[in-house]
């Protein structure tokens, strides 16, 4: 499959072990849920193409990460090449919520001076009775950290998964157009591909279209 994309966003998904990062990603990119998949060690990534306005194709490169503490030193390498971050916690494990601030600070520290756009995700909302974190509380934290969206999602029941990824993409897109995300040489977080007005699916015009 070859695509000519107009924009490409690098997106990273972070959070403690077993909050369901890989499941969210798998649900979004493959439309399925498989609780027995192998956990990523180090780095894995998936690709998704998104056309959210007619004629504007965005390619998302989604980095999956190992959540275990000791893998953090490695996750840093790909934080640098992302513009967006899904910060995930498990609604049924309070501890994973309490660690969000650390994750957030770590990312901010590491990507400086680049911009990182966050979305906060309370995962496993299908387990309604086991929830240990309220919506109000999570929203309060999002506000405090300056995160625009908080979404409660479930990869298992396919609740709000697509919309979470799309909200983040939309926000990055809008911030970019408002000039709030500068592009620097050698930074791969956000790239501009085929110019939008020249884009013609039958006749790709630039070199970059060679690889999907």
């Amino acid at each position: 499959m070859d695509f000519s994309w107009n924009y490409r966003f690098g997106i990273i998904i972070l959070g403690d072990s077993f909050v369901g990062k890989s499941s969210l990603l798998q649900r979004y990119t493959e439309g399925m849920f498989d609780k027995s998949r192998q956990s990523p060690l180090g780095i894995d990534f998936k690709v998704k193409h998104l056309e959210f306005e007619p004629g504007i194709l965005i390619k998302l490169l989604l980095w999956d990460t190992a959540g275990q503490e000791r893998f953090k030193s490695i996750s840093r390498s790909y934080m640098r090449n992302s513009v967006g971050c899904l910060l995930v916690f498990d609604l049924t494990k309070r501890q994973t919520f309490e660690r969000l601030r650390d994750w957030y600070n770590e990312v901010i520290d590491y990507v400086k001076p680049s911009k990182m756009v966050f979305i906060l995700i309370g995962h496993k909302c299908d387990l309604e009775e086991e929830q240990e974190v309220s919506k109000e509380e999570a929203e309060r934290l999002a506000k405090e950290l300056g995160i625009t969206h908080y979404v409660e999602a479930s990869a298992k029941d396919n609740l709000n998964v697509d919309s979470a990824f799309e909200s983040l993409t939309m926000e990055i897109y809008e911030l970019f157009h408002a000039g709030r995300i500068p592009i620097r040489e050698g930074w791969y977080g956000l790239s501009v591909g085929v110019p939008v007005d020249l884009y013609n699916p039958d006749e790709p015009k630039t070199e970059k279209s060679g690889c999907c």
Partner: protein, 465 residues
């Protein structure tokens, strides 16, 4: 897409499995057989259901049965006087590991090569002691959640709470008790799982200990410094092996940990087709980490080694996409083995580069946080550092091999009197490596040296392939 379908299917099957395995608490054979799994799904010769690991079928080379048979005899002979072979004919062992260890003896050979056998003998009862302790909940929680995520399409690990997963739990838990300061690293689970496919839990535990402490020291420790350091070493070695690939990765600032972490931490067990995994591990146990480096270098060289190939991946993400899905032809057993054996990268090259990179690391990161023991480059180095007694190397049960028929009869006449093996004592080989031989068999086994056993008149008992 076919793979997706398969996953969904086995999910349903797993549902039935869970119910059934509760009733089958003391069963024999693999979990999948118990549950009638095999009748619904094809299991390949490695135990993967539906051929879930990377095009295994078309990647494997077929060795004719008579050759396998010959190799088994040779390996049994070597195992019977392991210390002598290691001391005097190490090159031959290396060559035979390169050709591939016969499947029936692979688990045992790995245990001997790694020094796990010696550790086990010198620490009798240690595993049982660790196994009976409760363990730190901090690690147990993570281990438990990881159990069903290791090779979920291998018949041994397919059912929740089945034999494979139970043993995996025991081995990983025992390690956290053995090295409480290290704890559990998620990358240890696939390593332990591969070992368990070839040997019982106690042996797998010592195999894991050897990998974590001798072959890949520091890989699984907090901070993961050793793996990052090896990433730098790999990258530096690539410069000589493929300048084109090296320049490309450098130009796009592609950090080695981005592509080599899983390769190295899992010793390629999640990357290659299964036939190739086993052959790589055969050599890895014999020759040490240089094999892992060579596999990495071969893959990088083939994937990124010409300007043609690089035209389509101008950028970090394009390159990562290319590296993520290695073309099957580069991982094909025959091709990969030839390339690994031919590639000129020695222990000295690695050690030399290690010093360079360590110095650089200290300049940029400061002192290493985890002091790991020195790396042992393969079976011989381990044996020299940890010399075994002859008793440590005795096989249990001992396998007696009869020489080819025509001279067997003449030798029988000559050596009849020296016969030490009572004919009434059939030393049988257990069929599944996952089930240990019964203790009585181990006890009754006569202690023999290989030259005696080779000329012994009792019939060959090692009958499965």
């Amino acid at each position: 897409m076919a793979r997706n379908g398969l996953r969904a299917d086995s999910q349903n099957l797993r549902g039935t499995n869970e119910n059934l395995s509760e009733r089958e608490s003391s069963s024999i054979g693999s979990d999948s057989e118990i549950n009638g799994f095999t009748t619904e799904k094809q299991t390949d010769k490695y135990g993967f259901i539906g051929g879930a690991q990377q095009h295994t079928e078309e990647s494997a080379q077929d060795v004719p049965p008579e050759v396998v048979r010959e190799r088994e005899v040779k390996w049994l002979d070597m195992l019977n006087s392991w210390d002598k072979w290691m001391a005097k004919r190490h090159k031959k062992i290396k060559l035979r590991c390169q050709k591939g260890i016969p499947p029936s003896l692979r688990g045992r050979a790995w245990l001997y090569l790694s020094g796990g056998k010696v550790k086990l003998e010198q620490n009798h009862g240690k595993f049982q002691e660790l196994d009976s302790k409760p363990g730190d909940p901090k690690w147990l929680d993570v281990i438990e959640k990881d159990l069903h995520r290791q090779f979920p399409f291998h018949e041994m690990f397919v059912s929740r709470g089945g034999h494979g997963q139970q043993d995996l739990y025991r081995v990983l838990k025992a390690y956290t008790l053995y090295r409480p300061e290290e704890g559990y690293c998620q990358a240890q689970a696939p390593i332990a799982a591969v070992l368990l496919m070839h040997m019982p839990a106690e042996e797998a535990f010592w195999g894991l200990v050897q990998i974590c402490e001798k072959y890949l020291p520091g890989y699984y420790s907090a901070g993961l410094e050793a793996i990052q350091l090896d990433g730098e070493i790999l990258f530096a070695l690539l410069r000589r092996i493929s300048t084109v690939a090296y320049k490309h990765l450098k130009k796009h600032k592609i950090d080695p940990v981005l592509y080599m972490t899983e390769w190295f931490m899992c010793a390629f067990s999640r990357t290659l087709p299964w036939a190739s995994v086993l052959r790589v591990w055969d050599m890895f146990f014999c020759e040490g980490v240089k094999i892992i480096f060579r596999v990495g270098l071969v893959l990088l060289k083939n994937m990124l080694g010409s300007s043609d190939k690089l035209k389509v991946c101008q950028g970090l993400y394009e390159t990562m996409e290319l590296l993520r899905t290695v073309e099957p032809r580069y991982m094909q057993e025959g091709f990969l083995m030839r390339e690994i054996i031919e590639l000129q990268v020695s222990e000295r090259d690695i050690e030399k580069e290690h010093l360079v990179q360590l110095k650089r690391w200290k300049e940029t990161h400061g002192e290493l946080r985890c002091k790991s023991p020195p790396r042992m480059h393969g079976a011989r180095a381990i044996m020299i550092a940890d010399p075994p007694t002859h008793k440590d190397l005795l096989q249990a049960p001992t396998i007696i091999v009869e020489p080819p028929l025509e001279d067997a009869s003449s030798k029988q006449k000559k050596k009849g009197k020296n016969k030490r093996e009572p004919p009434s004592n059939p030393t049988t080989e257990t069929l599944s490596p996952a089930h240990p031989p019964s203790p009585t068999l181990q006890k009754d086994t006569p202690l023999q040296q290989s030259n005696q056993s080779l000329s012994s008149s009792s019939t060959e008992q090692d009958t499965y392939l």
